[in-house]
């Protein structure tokens, strides 16, 4: 399980960074979304550890830690919202520049 999660995080992270380093704004926004997903998976994997138990109610080992799930859920929502914002911004930028290439912007070159 740990190996599968690590491979998943690594793969998503690599894909995200590759996209982020590209020139097209939509690919960059999508790369960021992949990075968010990689990090959410990472949060799952570091918080799903046997010594972490539900802090209330005295539930022990076979019960998952609900706090970790709450964290990931919040992080998923934030990541989704932020990606939406970035995509909207990218769309406005593309319409204004009439180009997908972020570096054609005058400011970008400075």
């Amino acid at each position: 399980m740990a190996l599968a999660l690590s491979l998943g995080v690594g793969g998503l992270f690599a894909a995200g960074v590759y996209q982020l380093l590209g020139r097209e704004v939509f690919r960059m926004a999508f790369g960021l979304y992949l990075l968010f997903t990689a990090m959410n998976l990472l949060v799952v994997s570091v918080t799903a550890r046997p010594h972490l138990q539900a802090p209330l109610g005295g539930l022990s080992a076979p019960h998952a830690d609900p706090l970790a799930q709450a964290l990931v859920l919040t992080a998923v929502v934030i990541g989704f919202g932020l990606s939406t914002f970035l995509l909207m911004l990218a769309a406005r930028l593309v319409r204004q520049q009439e180009s997908l290439d972020g570096r054609r912007a005058r400011r970008w070159r400075r």
Partner: protein
């Protein structure tokens, strides 16, 4: 009760902003009202002293706690003050789309108050992200190529926020708690291997070398009150986070790294500001340099150095917000932020000239201003530790500051142009900041003690 009100009032401001009819000009006044109430609450908080509130009645460490310790109270005061000054400026402006132009301010006030109050590491991340998104929105509403600047800023800053989430998750995975104080208790030592994530995130947010690339564009794109908020209070956020969460992650070796990056920021920012041909970008690069001093002092790590770092953070925020308001006012009239277009614009404007001079003096660290006290405390902390190479860098950085402030002042205020008589303008926001700046410089004892108390609370 006060901590809850500090969150509830700005949130009501956000709701009010959305509820007002589309073109209503009341929005600026609403922001001003909310900022004033927030400032009043922060003052009340400072007078009552430490207050904590366990949200929903769940006792910490299981529940979420709002805690106003000395550092939080200081930052809340600073936040209220800078927002009041910026809102006075915002209120006097006309906007094509009033809702979009004013909404980011209400959101930012809420998010920053929350960030400074929370004692819960995950809440800290959530507020950090909320601050970030609101500030992207603030930049998109700017005037000088705002979309490119906002894109650059948000794409880089989003990576930083992600890294903060990762750091917090690692700390939670190791300790099983999210309460910052409880976390520090349960950790056997600093989580050095998770430190790069947290460092990246905080250095990016405060635009320190080598993560400063987004910053001049974003500051130059923002409107006058927007750049005062960005340069004043938002630039503090990363270093505030480092003060709060740093002890969980930073080992002695990393303190050396902080000193190196601090010194690099001081020198790089100084040179960049010296070469800059645009007034707002000059002030932005100067932020990289000035916050480098704070990072340097954080790297020293003694209680005196921490107190000096907090003093410096506050003094820089006040002085930089004041300078952005002054330069912003002049560049709004000139229709350009380029130094060449601003030549002689401030000639004969006694009020603006005095404000600009005070802000500049504080930035350099000369009396009678808050910056003087902060600079002396910082150099003394360094000399006490015998850190001579770093003190030399700090003095060199101060000389560079002197250089670019004189250059800015010379270009904007001195040349005779024979321009038409300036019209009367409201300067109440700038005046408020200038009065506080001088007040802290002349009667700075309570402020100095508050910073010392904050440093002692951070390093028991």
């Amino acid at each position: 009760m006060i901590p809850a009100l500090l969150l509830a009032v700005p949130l009501l401001g956000v709701i009010g902003n959305l509820a007002l009819p589309g073109r209503s000009r009341l929005r600026g006044r609403l922001i001003l009202l909310v900022a004033l109430v927030s400032l009043g609450l922060a003052i009340a908080q400072e007078r009552t002293g430490a207050l904590t509130l366990a949200v929903g009645g769940w006792a910490p460490p299981h529940g979420i706690e709002l805690a106003a310790d000395a550092l939080s109270r200081l930052m809340l005061l600073l936040n209220g003050l800078i927002f009041t000054a910026a809102a006075l400026e915002l209120e006097s402006e006309r906007h094509e789309r009033p809702m979009l132009a004013t909404l980011p301010y209400a959101l930012l006030l809420f998010a920053l108050n929350g960030l400074f109050l929370t004692a819960d590491a995950f809440d800290f991340y959530v507020f950090f992200e909320l601050v970030a998104v609101s500030s992207y929105l603030l930049v998109t509403q700017g005037q000088d190529h705002p979309l490119e600047a906002a894109w650059k800023y948000s794409a880089q800053s989003a990576v930083g926020s992600l890294c903060l989430l990762t750091g917090v998750a690692f700390a939670y995975g190791m300790t099983g708690t999210l309460h910052m104080h409880d976390m520090a208790m349960r950790l056997p030592g600093p989580l050095t291997w998770a430190a790069p994530f947290v460092l990246l995130s905080f250095l990016l947010k405060s635009a320190l070398f080598p993560f400063h690339l987004w910053q001049p564009d974003a500051y130059a794109a923002a409107t006058t009150p927007g750049s005062a908020i960005l340069g004043g209070i938002l630039s503090c956020v990363g270093l505030y986070g480092l003060l709060r969460l740093g002890p969980l992650f930073l080992s002695p070796a990393l303190h050396l790294l902080l000193q190196v990056l601090g010194a690099a920021s001081i020198l790089y920012g100084g040179i960049a500001a010296w070469r800059e041909q645009d007034a707002k970008r000059l002030l932005a690069s100067s932020s990289t340099s000035q916050l480098g001093f704070v990072l340097l002092a954080l790297g020293w790590g003694s209680v005196a150095a921490l107190a000096a770092a907090i003093l410096y953070l506050v003094a820089h925020a006040l002085g930089k917000a004041l300078l952005f308001l002054v330069i912003g006012r002049l560049s709004d009239e000139a229709g350009s932020t380029r130094l060449a277009d601003l030549r002689g614009r401030g000639q004969g404007r006694i009020g603006l000239q005095i404000m600009g001079l005070l802000g500049g003096l504080s930035l350099i660290g000369l009396p009678p201003s808050a910056g003087f006290l902060a600079k002396i405390a910082l150099l003394r902390a360094g000399i006490e530790l015998g850190a001579w190479p770093w003190v030399t860098v700090a003095v060199a950085g101060t000389l560079m500051t002197l250089g670019y402030v004189i250059r800015l002042y010379q270009v904007v205020f001195l040349p005779e142009t024979g321009a038409p008589a300036p019209r009367a303008i409201a300067k109440s926001g700038m005046a408020a900041l200038a009065i506080v700046l001088v007040g802290l410089g002349i009667a700075g004892a309570p402020w100095y003690e508050a910073c010392q108390r904050a440093a002692l609370e951070l390093r028991p």
